[in-house]
Amino acid sequence: MKPARFAYFQPDSVDEAVACLRENGGEARVLAGGQSLLVLMNRRQIRPTALVDLKRVRGLDYLVRDGEGLRIGALTRHIDIENADDPQIRTAFGVLPESARLIGHLPIRTRGTFGGSIAYADPRAEWCLLAVLLDAEVVVVSEDGSRTVPAKDFFTGAHQSAARWDEIVAEVRFPHPAPNAALVEFGIQQGDLPVVAASAAVDLDARGRIASARIALGGVADRPVRANGAEKAAVGSVPDGRLLDHLAQLASKELDPPADPRTDGHDRKELATVLVARALRASIARGATAGTGATPRTGATPGTSATAGTGRQADHQKAEDR
């Protein structure tokens, strides 16, 4: 549990950091919160020759509203998103603070960063999933300048992204508000990366029919995926229980999830069906109560159904806090 030898750099700015990265070649790594990187290094699963620690880099730690959108600096800690108290962020992007509290445990949220999570591109990570669900854009910077990559193109495989070795993730932009977005996940225990996570953002029209639906899944492929077929099929329908179950089936039908020692591919597919149905219900319930609901998380109160209303969900969140 001792890392192999490495060189260590502490640049003061983004410019210095990207220069340092390029100087040290492809085997150098950026160190942000260290909550994923150091674990791998201590187990010698990876052996970077150099670490470029972003700890001293200023100006990458922010949550700012930008028109109707939101920009998050790469070094923003999970906990700062969890505790964001800007009421407009809470209304338009309530799913972000609510999902933050599903990430690991307090010490992990206190150190781990938003950009680190995006850069690490774990197919189960909450931030990656929401970036795909909400059509976010990832801003990456290198010595050559910056470029913007849509989230759907950014994640290219398990722990693989469109960011080049000499690029740093600087910012993630959420272009549109998503007051109804909800994320539901199943992990073996609280604080684990989920086995499967589902998220949905459903908007209803004036007649109560589905105007648009976005559905994304984590933990079912080598990257977060959108359920395009189910999204299309949703439009124009009345969101009753049967429809939502049908959409959930549609969403999981196309999946071919990888197996792991704990959950085989089939189980993941079944879980996906269950969780998409719950996420859709949660999103619709949120629309009905104008954004006051909490993001439900399955596993704590078995059988929680989002349509049961926000009171029940709030209880259930409390149960998890113990």
């Binding site: 225990q189 704990r262 269950v274 704590a300 059988g303």
Partner: protein, 777 residues
Amino acid sequence: MNAIGTSVPRLEDERLLLGRGRFHDGVIRPGQLWMRVVRSPVAHGRIRGVDTSAAERLPGVVSVITSADLVGMPRIPVRQPAPGMDFTPYLQAPLATGFVRYVGDPVAAVLADDPYVAEDAAELVALDIEELPVALDARSAADLELECFGGHRAEVGIIEFGYGEVDEVFAGAAHVVSTNLRVGRHSGTPLEPRGLVAEWDDRAERMTIWGATKVPYFNRRVAAQMIGLPEHRIHMLETDAGGSFGVRGEFYPEDLLVPYLCFRTRRPVKWSEDRAEHFVAANHARQQEHDIELAFDEDHRLLGLRNEAWLDNGGYIRTHGAVVAVLTASMMSGPYRLPACRSRVHIVTTNKTPIGTYRAPGRYQHNFVREHALDVAATQLGADPVELRRRNLLDATEFPHRRAIHIFGSPMVLDGKDHLEHFDKALASSEYQAWREQARAARESGRLVGTGCAFILEKAGLGYDSAIVDVDTTGAVRVAMGGANVGQGIETVMAQITAEEFDVPAESVKVVLSDTDILPDGSGTFASRTTVVGGTAVKQAAEAVVRKARRVAGVLLGADPEELRVEGGTLFAPGDPDKRLTLAEIARVCFTPAHLRNGEEPGLIGRSTYVADGMTYPYGAHFAQAEIDPGTGQVRLLRYAITYEIGRAVHPQLVRQQILGGAVQGIGGALFEEFRYSERGEPQSITLNDYRWPRASDIPEIRLDVFEDSPAPGNPLGVRGAGEGGTAGAGAAVANAVRDALQLTGDVGALPLHPERVKELLRRRDGGDADRPARDA
């Protein structure tokens, strides 16, 4: 005064809370070297060669050893031999010799002046191992003949206990219920992994070892014999310990390697295990498969029990020998009126980490298997599970209850009181019947909620232990006892027992544990024995001091020694309370020539060795209420309750903490914790991300009622063990609650009840095939 029966502040707390505790890793000796063990990456193989040259060339490396350096050294012996069973071929060598038997088997040890370099060097040791077929299932592996064991079978032996005409009983029974149940592989995984520091003193020509816990005297003996040193050349010293749970502190390969390398280099050597190492190197536990049958008459009275079990022992037989199998097989008969019983456990080696004794060894298994089979029987007989137990529990007229069995050489005499009465009290205090009603109502509304109960038979207190109590000329009281501090608060308890005799505050008593220079022998801390056996030795040693103090004071005060009163650490005659002698004054007299001329030993000292006649058998009940998420298979415990007969609680709060902590570990094994292996025998649970400890959010508030209805008749304190009863029933109660929530007619099959296993049970219950879409709530 602050003594037995009161929850005084723990004496350990001040130093631990102020950061003055000292754990093995805090022991830093000048010039110390670091050991890193090179472990087998394959589960079974023939060692063709170990090339250490590259490692030896790395700057900072002092020494690299393999089995070639240990030629002629005996293998690690068992601590508890089993009559009639020869473990010799199956014992583990400190470094693998000829063959490797599991992933993690130590093959070489590297010594370097820095832990990073040691790890770098360990990677450079080149292993040439020819892989051999692996055996991962005890039942099917039993008949294999293994070259690595000189052609001996994988099955080490069979432990059998029984009484009565069991086959006849089954032949004539009105009802026979049988099931097949498996307990998963999990273990005690202390917060502080193992570690040792050894330092050689050139002037004294002896070695000091820090970090041994549990059984330091045994470990000293083994290290001395294996290295070829007189025992007195090794001094074991106590450190604080972040838990043992039966796992930490046994004599492992590293317990030889560290002192051996220290002796060889004459330099301090430190080894501090990391978590990944711990998960493959320290004892695993539990894994067993059982075929169990229960026979009943028409009135649902138990007539007989037959059990055949296979214990997946892992790669070698370690120090506990056959203890797990013995405690499973002998105690399977449980707390019930059971005319006939036969219980057999096959001990089978496989290519996994060796197993050992973990908190409630054997009892976690036998209580789960028997209590779950009882619930299956209740369903099949159309009986109520609570009533089925009530009908068969031993009652007041049947104690002491002798079973025609000898365990560890002593007859099995259940020494408790009315078990039925305990169960009725437990049902009342837990309000279990109300939980059942709630669960029933919840099920009617479509939720999957269920309840389960289990009555458990425990055992405690075994063997002997020694103690010395002395009072010096300043009046300071010191106790030395052979048990070990593993973080359980034993210093406080020993201080209380001593303080009671002198009528002084517990915090004024200094307790020294596991210092092999003070006491010639000690048995250690395991089997819920330390308070029962060591505590009794301490009590008797303190009584001897008081007797001597009376003798001396009687002369000085001109009073009858027997009449003297002991109060606040002083002695006086009842008729003359103003003329008092302090213990300090008496102690001073004990060093005068006049005193010694009477044939007395110098000093105010008492010694005792207490030998327990047999074990004491505490008992209790566990209750669980659980809800299952039908979509994910996740089990959530909603309620949990335990009742336990403790005989007498020396420190009621510590008893509670023992039972509650134990329950959390038991629940861990029932729902979360599991060492999994790939088909090639590669461990899949090597981080806390894969091996899942229960967390606060997984555990409901546990209601605990400790009873002192039945002081243990076998020891003067009347205490029964507290260490394991919280663990012993958790598998049973959780499994029964899950079974009830799912309304299964059969059994749950296996522990732990991971979500995917529960989903599988749901699918099978509903008769659906695997492609059936999942239902949502």
